[in-house]
C-alpha cells in the first residue's frame, strides 16, 4: 500500500497540478468581474471600524470604561482585521450551492464515469480559487494592515507565528469541508439554500466574524467553544493577539485538527451514501 502510494505519487501530483492550473485559468476568464468583486469586499472594513469607534465612544461616555471584555478600541480594530484574514481563508463563496447544483442537474455523473474523485477535485479547484483571490486581495490587505499598523501588538514569537499560519491553513480546510457537507446534503434535499442560510447565520455570529467571542456571556461562550465555527475567524486572530495561552496553543490546534478529521470523514460518508442514493434513484 505504501509502496503503491510512493510509486504513483508523481503521477498523481501531476494530475493535481493540472487540475489546480486549469481551475486557476478558469478563474482568470472573468478577471474584470473577479477583481472588482474582490476589491468591493474591502469597503465594509471602513464602516466596521467606524462602528466600533462609535461603540467604544458611547461605552466610555456611559460607563467611563475604555475596554470591552479586555479589548481596547485599538485591540478591536486589530482583532477585526485579523478575523478578516481568517475569513479570507475559511469562507467558501458558492461552494455548497455549486455542489448542490451539480447533484441536481446531473453534472455529478462526470465524477462517476471518469476515474476522478469529486471531493479531491473540488478541493484543488477551491485552492485555485483562493490563490486567485489572494493574488488580488494581498494589495488591499497590505494597505489596510499598514495603515492600521499602530493598532497591532508587537510581532509575535516564532512559535505563535507558526501556530497562527497553521490555524489559517486549518481554517481553510475546515471551512471547505463544512461547506462541502452542506452541499452534499443536496443528495437528499434538492434545494439546500435555506439550510445554507442557517449555516451562514450561525457562522456569522459564532465564528467571531461579527464580534470577538470573548464578548459572549460565560454560558454561551462555553457552548461556542464546543462548536467548530470559532476556528473559522476567532481562533487565528486570538492566537496572533496572544489571547490563547501558550500552554494551550498546541492543544487547541490539536482539537481543531480533530474537528477537521471528523469533518473529512463526514464529508466522505455523505458522499458515499449520497452517490449510492443518487445511483439508486435516478440520475
Amino acid at each position: 500500500m505504501i509502496a503503491w502510494t510512493v510509486r504513483t505519487l508523481p503521477q498523481r501530483a501531476s494530475t493535481w497540478w493540472t487540475i489546480y492550473r486549469i481551475a486557476l485559468e478558469e478563474r482568470m476568464a472573468y478577471r474584470g468581474d473577479f477583481a472588482l468583486g474582490t476589491l468591493m469586499r474591502f469597503l465594509p472594513i471602513v464602516t466596521q471600524i467606524f462602528l466600533w469607534w462609535a461603540i467604544f465612544d458611547a461605552a466610555a461616555a456611559a460607563t467611563g470604561k475604555s475596554h470591552l471584555a479586555g479589548y481596547s478600541f485599538h485591540d478591536m480594530v486589530a482583532y477585526y482585521l485579523l478575523s478578516m484574514l481568517g475569513r479570507a481563508f475559511s469562507s467558501m463563496p458558492g461552494l455548497a450551492s455549486t455542489v448542490a447544483r451539480q447533484i441536481r442537474e446531473g453534472e455529478i455523473k462526470k465524477y462517476l464515469v471518469q476515474p476522478i474523485d469529486m471531493i479531491g477535485f473540488m478541493l484543488l479547484a477551491r485552492m485555485a480559487h483562493k490563490s486567485a483571490y489572494y493574488a488580488i486581495a494581498c494589495g488591499p490587505f497590505a494597505l489596510v494592515f499598514y495603515l492600521c499598523g499602530d493598532y497591532f501588538p508587537a510581532w509575535p514569537t516564532v512559535e505563535v507565528g507558526l501556530a497562527f499560519l497553521l490555524s489559517l491553513v486549518f481554517a481553510f480546510l475546515l471551512g471547505f469541508f463544512l461547506d462541502l457537507c452542506i452541499g452534499l446534503i443536496g443528495f437528499w434535499f434538492l434545494e439546500v439554500s435555506s439550510l445554507l442560510f442557517i449555516y451562514m447565520l450561525l457562522n456569522f455570529f459564532l465564528s467571531g466574524h461579527m464580534f470577538p467571542l470573548d464578548l459572549l456571556p460565560v454560558g454561551w461562550r462555553g457552548a461556542v467553544d464546543y462548536l467548530p465555527f470559532r476556528y473559522l475567524a476567532y481562533f487565528p486572530a486570538a492566537i496572533y493577539l496572544g489571547k490563547v495561552p501558550s500552554s494551550q496553543l498546541w492543544q487547541e490546534l490539536g482539537v481543531e485538527a480533530l474537528w477537521l478529521v471528523g469533518m473529512i470523514f463526514i464529508a466522505r460518508y455523505l458522499y458515499a451514501r449520497g452517490v449510492r442514493r443518487y445511483s439508486g434513484y435516478g440520475g
Binding site: T18, E26, G106, V113, Q114, P115
Partner: protein, 395 residues
C-alpha cells in the same frame, strides 16, 4: 501532422469524406495495437482483468435480466393534497427497464431505438455505472459497471448529447490536458491522438477557442475527442447528434463510422435520427416500455414490420390518375407523378395491370420511409406504461 511516416504500414483504405492526408493518419493508427499505446506498467494483461472475463468465449457486454425501477412521488392536484403530501406521500414504482437480456460482441456497433422514456438512456446509464440496477446483472469487459472500478472507468467512455463535459470558459485543449492526466495517457500518445482526432473532425483551428464560443456541432466534436483520447474499448453514445444541423450530423456519422471500423471498438448508440442508425449500425435493438421488442438488422425490421411497398409512377403526358385507386391505395397525385402504396405480395400484379392500362415514363418501387416503419413498430409494442406496481410508502 507529427506522425512519423515510418509507422505508415497500414493500407490506406478508401474512406468516405475524409481528405487523403487524414486517411493516412488513420491508417497509421491502425497499425498500432491498443496495448502498444500504453507504457509497460499500464499494458493490460489478462491477469489484470477480472478473472471472470475471457474475451475468447464471452461477449464484451453481457446483460441478464437487468431491471431498474424508480420510485416516484405521486403528486395529486390541489392545495389540500399538497399539504397532505407534506406528511404522507404516495410513491409508485415505475419500471424504466424490465428484464433486459442482451449480448454484444466485441467490435459491434449497436443502435438502441425506442420512443422517449422507453429505457434506452437508463440502460446506458446502468452500463456506465452511474446508476445501480434494481435486479439482474451486467458485465462489460468482465467488469460489473456499478462497482465503478477505476480500471473499468479508464476503458470506456460515455458521451451524452445533452450534457457538456468540457470546461465551459476554457479552450477545449485545456479539458483535453486534464483528460490526459486523469486517464494517464503518455504525452507522446496524447499528442498523436489529439492530432489525429482533431484532423479527422477538422477542428484543429478551434482547439484554442473557449468552448462557450463554439457552435453546437463543434462542441459535439470536442466532446467526442475528449471521450476518445484515452482510446476506450467500449463507447456509449446517448443521442450524439441531437439538435445538430444536417451537415454536422453527417460529419459526425462519417467520423463515427470510420473510427469504429478502423479501431473495431464496441459502440452502443441511442438516437432518434433514423439516418444515424441507417448509416452506422448493422444491428438494431428496439426497446419499448423497458423491454427489448426486437433485436436484429435494419433489413429484418423492414421485412418483418413493413408489408407494404411504395410505387412511384411518372405518367406520360395527357394521362390522368383516374382508376388507379381501384388497383392500389393512392398516396398522392401531383401530375404527372403519382405515388401508390400496395401490399408487398401484390406488387407484381399491380404493376402488370398499370403497365397494361397506362402509359408510363418512369417507375420505381421503394420501401416505406424508415421513420414510418419504426413509428409503427413502437405503436405495435404492448402498451404497458400503466401497469406499474403501485406501492404506497409514507415518508
Amino acid at each position: 501532422m507529427v506522425i512519423p511516416s515510418s509507422t505508415n504500414v497500414g493500407n490506406p483504405s478508401p474512406v468516405g469524406d475524409f481528405p487523403a492526408r487524414d486517411q493516412r493518419a488513420i491508417s497509421n493508427c491502425q497499425s498500432v495495437a491498443v496495448g502498444d499505446l500504453l507504457p509497460p506498467t499500464e499494458r493490460r494483461t489478462d491477469q489484470q482483468r477480472p478473472a471472470a472475463y475471457n474475451p475468447a468465449s464471452m461477449a464484451i457486454i453481457e446483460i441478464e435480466n437487468l431491471t431498474k425501477t424508480y420510485r416516484v412521488y405521486q403528486k395529486r392536484e390541489g392545495l389540500k393534497a399538497a399539504i397532505a403530501g407534506l406528511f404522507h406521500r404516495e410513491h409508485r414504482e415505475v419500471y424504466a427497464v424490465r428484464g433486459i437480456n442482451l449480448q454484444v460482441e466485441q467490435g459491434e456497433f449497436v443502435a438502441f431505438l425506442g420512443p422517449n422514456g422507453a429505457g434506452k438512456t437508463t440502460t446506458l446509464k446502468l452500463l456506465s455505472g452511474v446508476i445501480y440496477p434494481t435486479s439482474g446483472s451486467a458485465r462489460v469487459m468482465g467488469f460489473v459497471p456499478w462497482e465503478r472500478d477505476n480500471e473499468y472507468r479508464r476503458r470506456f467512455a460515455l458521451v451524452m448529447g445533452q450534457k457538456n463535459q468540457l470546461w465551459w470558459d476554457l479552450p477545449a485543449q485545456e479539458s483535453f490536458r486534464l483528460h490526459q492526466q486523469i486517464y494517464r495517457i503518455p504525452p507522446t500518445e496524447f499528442t498523436r491522438r489529439l492530432d489525429e482526432l482533431s484532423d479527422l473532425l477538422q477542428v484543429r483551428p478551434l482547439l484554442g477557442r473557449p468552448v462557450r464560443e463554439l457552435s453546437l456541432g463543434e462542441r459535439m466534436k470536442m466532446e467526442l475527442i475528449a471521450a476518445l483520447l484515452h482510446s476506450p474499448e467500449v463507447l456509449f453514445l446517448d443521442e450524439p447528434t441531437i439538435g445538430l444541423d444536417v451537415v454536422a450530423q453527417h460529419n459526425i456519422q462519417q467520423f463515427l463510422k470510420f473510427y469504429q471500423q478502423e479501431r473495431r471498438i464496441t459502440i452502443l448508440l441511442t438516437s432518434h435520427y433514423m439516418k444515424d442508425v441507417a448509416a452506422l449500425c448493422k444491428r438494431v435493438v428496439v426497446i419499448t416500455d423497458g423491454r427489448i421488442h426486437f433485436d436484429g438488422s435494419l433489413d429484418q425490421i423492414i421485412d418483418s414490420f413493413s408489408g407494404n411497398r411504395i410505387v412511384r409512377l411518372q405518367l406520360a403526358e395527357g394521362q390522368t390518375a383516374d382508376g388507379l385507386s381501384m388497383l392500389a391505395e393512392v398516396e398522392s397525385v401531383e401530375l404527372p407523378r403519382v405515388t401508390l402504396r400496395c401490399a408487398r405480395s401484390d406488387v407484381t400484379r399491380v404493376l402488370a395491370r398499370i403497365l397494361e392500362r397506362y402509359q408510363i415514363v418512369d417507375i420505381s418501387i421503394e420501401d416505406p420511409p424508415l421513420e414510418e416503419i419504426i413509428a409503427k413498430l413502437f405503436q405495435d409494442a404492448p402498451a404497458g406504461r400503466n401497469d406499474v406496481a403501485e406501492v404506497e410508502v409514507g415518508r
